[in-house]
């Protein structure tokens, strides 16, 4: 990297309370290039970007931007010097037009303070043209797709003469073609000499768009390289801190008899018939885009949404769960997607959370046998190594990984034969992620049948013995572990078919 850097962040450290979010991080970007910033949740990407945006002040270190030294920025200075951040949650006023949003807070006006709408519209049109974005300046934001809204944010950044645009996981809200047009826009920005910092989890995109890559892990820089000199496996290893084959525990048993079979199941939110079979001791991955209907399948199986038609059998016996209770009694468990609103009672004790679904076993005439309950909790704590000061503590004070373990502990008390995991490691730090993978595999080894819904393709590929792919609320393909690849799943999930794919 011989080119002069436009931005250097030197020896940045930042702590929150006792937690060191960044340790002596140095990061630099070449002018007019796309620099990918990679890392797991909690690696420090957001903190670094927020320091650059002026939202946080670093405890130590300095920022050199366009040759100028700064100890830190205020948010206003960051914008004034030419740094723009596009967050995942877009900052647009839904009821205003594209032009009004682009010039929000900087509206051109005449001496009487009346806004010069004409000029605003004209300048916006020029800007959109320059970026080759096919949008009308007078369109209302609320009517646009999320992808188009993101383009408006980019136009706004450019209108503020941004030399450096940070995009925080822009692809998380985009689908297939939309991503292509984002990349086209990024390329035209780069042609105009703008520098891009591109934050993402998705390695495919990084290889497609980035020139350089920096990997953060646990608040430190673990690697900086031009993208041409690094492999996918190497990047994953840097992100998670261990070689790929050690992250995902291998299955040692082969799958057993079918446990759960669903035939032509439909619900109000799952209009097209879905069928699947889940075997003893296997982990079946369910992949697809957000909104493809994966959670709806889980809810149908678990009795959370009433069935309209279809047949669900557990170990051969017909169960048509009309409530989660019936599913639970039949031997099913659901670790839901959103732990905080669907999985845990945040304001109640860990004790109540863990034993809630198995109180039937712990009560005599409705009275909880305190000793028995405490023993149960101790055993669960040991088996899942839940880090807690006391079971009387409210669940909200646990870390994401430990919260997830509490949800899992609750279900293990019911000795389920089928467990549905919906996004099992979302918002969980790397260490706990690893432990959760181990636990899932251990359960499968003990004969539990596991259905795992996940948007994280590395996870789907690493954990699943078999993979189902959903597209537009339909199960479109079943892939064996050795047939599956990231490209193939993405193709199926975005188009519903793989007609143009060459055989792998």
């Amino acid at each position: 990297m011989t080119d002069t850097p436009i931005l250097e962040m030197l020896n940045i450290s930042k702590a929150f309370g006792g937690v060191q979010a960044l340790r002596d991080v140095s990061f630099s970007c070449r002018k007019g290039k796309v620099h990918a910033l990679l890392g797991e949740n909690g690696a420090g990407k957001s903190t670094l970007i927020k320091i650059l945006a002026g939202a946080y002040q670093a405890d130590s270190g300095e920022i050199v931007f366009k040759g100028q030294r700064y100890a830190g920025f205020t948010a206003r200075e960051a914008i004034a010097t030419g740094i723009s951040i596009i967050y995942q949650e877009l900052n647009l006023v839904q009821l205003m037009t594209v032009a009004e949003n682009i010039f929000l807070g900087r509206e051109p006006s005449n001496r009487l303070g009346v806004i010069d709408t004409q000029r605003m519209t004209k300048e916006s049109a020029a800007l959109l043209e320059q970026l080759r974005i096919p949008l009308s300046p007078s369109a209302q934001i609320g009517d646009l797709t999320v992808a188009s809204q993101q383009m408006v944010e980019i136009a706004r950044a450019l209108s503020q003469n941004a030399d450096l645009i940070v995009m925080d996981e822009p692809s998380a809200i985009l689908a297939g073609q939309e991503l292509d047009s984002l990349f086209a826009t990024i390329r035209s920005l780069v042609e105009q000499g703008v520098t891009i910092i591109y934050i993402s989890h998705r390695l495919n995109e990084v290889f497609e768009i980035a020139d350089d890559v920096t990997v953060l892990k646990d608040g430190r820089v673990v690697g900086v390289q031009p993208i041409g000199e690094v492999t996918r496996a190497r990047l994953i290893q840097m992100m998670v801190g261990r070689p790929l084959e050690e992250i995902f525990p291998r299955a040692t048993r082969s799958r057993g008899a079918p446990v759960l079979s669903a035939t032509n199941v439909t619900t109000e939110r799952l209009p097209r018939p879905a069928s699947l079979t889940l075997h003893e001791g296997e982990i079946l991955g369910l992949a697809g885009m957000v909104g493809a209907g994966r959670t709806e399948v889980a809810r149908a199986l678990f009795g959370a949404d009433p069935l309209r038609s279809g047949d669900i059998r557990l170990k051969g016996a017909r169960i048509q769960p009309r409530s989660p209770r019936q599913a639970v009694q039949a031997g099913m468990a659901l670790v839901p997607e959103d732990r905080k609103t669907q999985g845990l009672f945040l304001e109640q004790s860990i004790r109540s959370n863990i034993t809630l679904s198995s109180l039937d076993k712990l009560t005599r005439f409705g009275v909880i046998q305190r000793g028995l309950e405490t023993a149960t909790i101790r055993r669960a704590q040991r088996e899942l190594s839940i880090a807690m000061a006391s079971p009387e503590l409210e669940a909200q004070y646990l870390s994401g990984g430990n919260q997830q373990k509490v949800v899992l502990a609750k279900w293990l008390q019911t000795s389920p034969s089928v467990i549905i995991f919906d996004e099992p490691t979302r918002g969980v730090d790397v260490g706990a992620k690893f432990e959760i993978y181990q636990l899932m595999r251990q359960l499968a080894e003990r004969g539990v049948a596991i259905l795992m819904i996940s948007s994280d393709l590395v996870e789907v590929l690493g954990m699943s013995d078999r993979i189902l792919v959903m597209h537009e609320r339909r199960i479109v393909a079943e892939l064996a572990r050795d047939q599956a690849s990231e490209e193939r799943i993405i193709e199926l999930a975005t188009t519903g078919s793989q007609a143009e794919m060459k055989p792998a």
């Binding site: 678990f302 839901p336 109180l359 909880i368 079971p391 409210e394």
Partner: protein
């Protein structure tokens, strides 16, 4: 509970104070009020006056315990005042001064209360109508029924039943003992039974409760049945005090009960709170009224002061939680 061996991880242990802040405040206020009243008047700190306050508290206390269950489950019951009214009329008419009718009157009245709770609960769970609306309707309907039954005092308590009010165990009035035992029983149910856990869980997050396999509807119906039955029991206590069925009995009891529950620190959003707090709220309301009477303050001020206390206390709890 002793802290477990694995105290690793950066856990922020919340100050135990947070959960108990409301208890400290409400019982602290009671203490301050008692000290102030005993310094201001020689009539306050007498055995007679104190037991009188406590015995009066049994009435509000019984309803408020039921209301606490409902509020912790995430609901509200506005119909308890009307249930009390109907209960006192019904039991007075059925008893009609005859000792042999006591059993029938008591059982029928409690059954009436349970039935009201059952209907409330069914409407709330099966038709998914908001508890506020269902119980507001029940409040109005039952009040109307009450006034068609009687606009003047009717019926008569049997002499034996009337004696319950003055009965003492040693120096302690029976009703005081009753309130204490009822509170303890309620605390036990909330903390140590599966039913109590489920009530807390449903109030904390109904969706999680459902996904955890709890029979949410059944528990909620149970809570409303319990609450209305306790309201009917309160009506019976009124009959034991007044000896007749007075149709104005119970008016405003729903708001008094909710006030006591909130003063006790139970969250109106459900999932958090308890009966020790509610008991404190009940005693604080009872004491405030008593002290104002002793100090010869016009009764007009009583409600005003109660209003100030409730808003002030809740504002203070909110501060503590931040």
């Amino acid at each position: 509970m002793a802290s477990s061996p694995s105290e690793r991880g950066g856990l922020r242990v919340p100050p135990g104070l947070r959960r108990h802040a409301s208890l400290l405040i409400v019982y602290g206020l009671i203490l301050i009020l008692c000290v102030y009243a005993s310094l201001s008047s020689p009539n306050f700190l007498t055995e007679r006056n104190i037991f009188n306050v406590l015995r009066t508290a049994a009435f509000l206390g019984t309803v408020a315990i039921g209301e606490t269950f409902v509020i912790i489950s995430g609901g509200i019951d506005l119909s308890v005042g009307s249930v009390i009214k109907l209960s006192v009329l019904m039991s007075a008419i059925l008893m009609n001064g005859r000792p042999e009718n006591i059993g029938l009157a008591v059982v029928a009245t409690l059954a009436m209360g349970a039935a009201v709770g059952l209907i409330n609960g069914l409407l709330i769970t099966k038709l998914r109508i908001a508890p506020f609306i269902v119980t507001l309707g029940a409040y109005s309907i039952l009040r109307g029924v009450g006034y068609t039954v009687a606009t003047m005092p009717v019926g008569k308590a049997a002499p034996g039943f009337l004696r319950l009010y003055d009965l003492k165990v040693g120096p302690v009035p029976l009703l005081v003992l009753f309130l204490a035992l009822l509170t303890l029983a309620g605390v036990f149910v909330l903390r140590r039974t599966a039913f109590g856990r489920y009530i807390n869980a449903i109030g904390g997050n109904e969706q999680v409760a459902r996904l955890s396999g709890i029979r949410v509807d059944r528990v909620k119906i149970g809570v409303y049945v319990l609450c209305s039955a306790l309201a009917a029991l309160t009506g019976l206590l009124y009959l034991a005090r007044a000896g007749v069925g007075d149709p104005v009995t119970g008016e405003g009891a729903e708001l008094q009960a909710i006030t006591a529950v909130i003063l006790g620190g139970t969250s109106l959003f459900g999932g958090q709170g308890g009966l020790i707090g509610t008991l404190g709220g009940v005693l604080l309301i009872g004491l405030t009224n008593n002290v104002l009477v002793i100090l010869n303050v016009s009764s007009w001020y009583q409600e005003l002061i109660q209003g100030l206390v409730i808003v002030g206390a809740v504002a203070f709890y909110k501060q503590k939680r931040r």
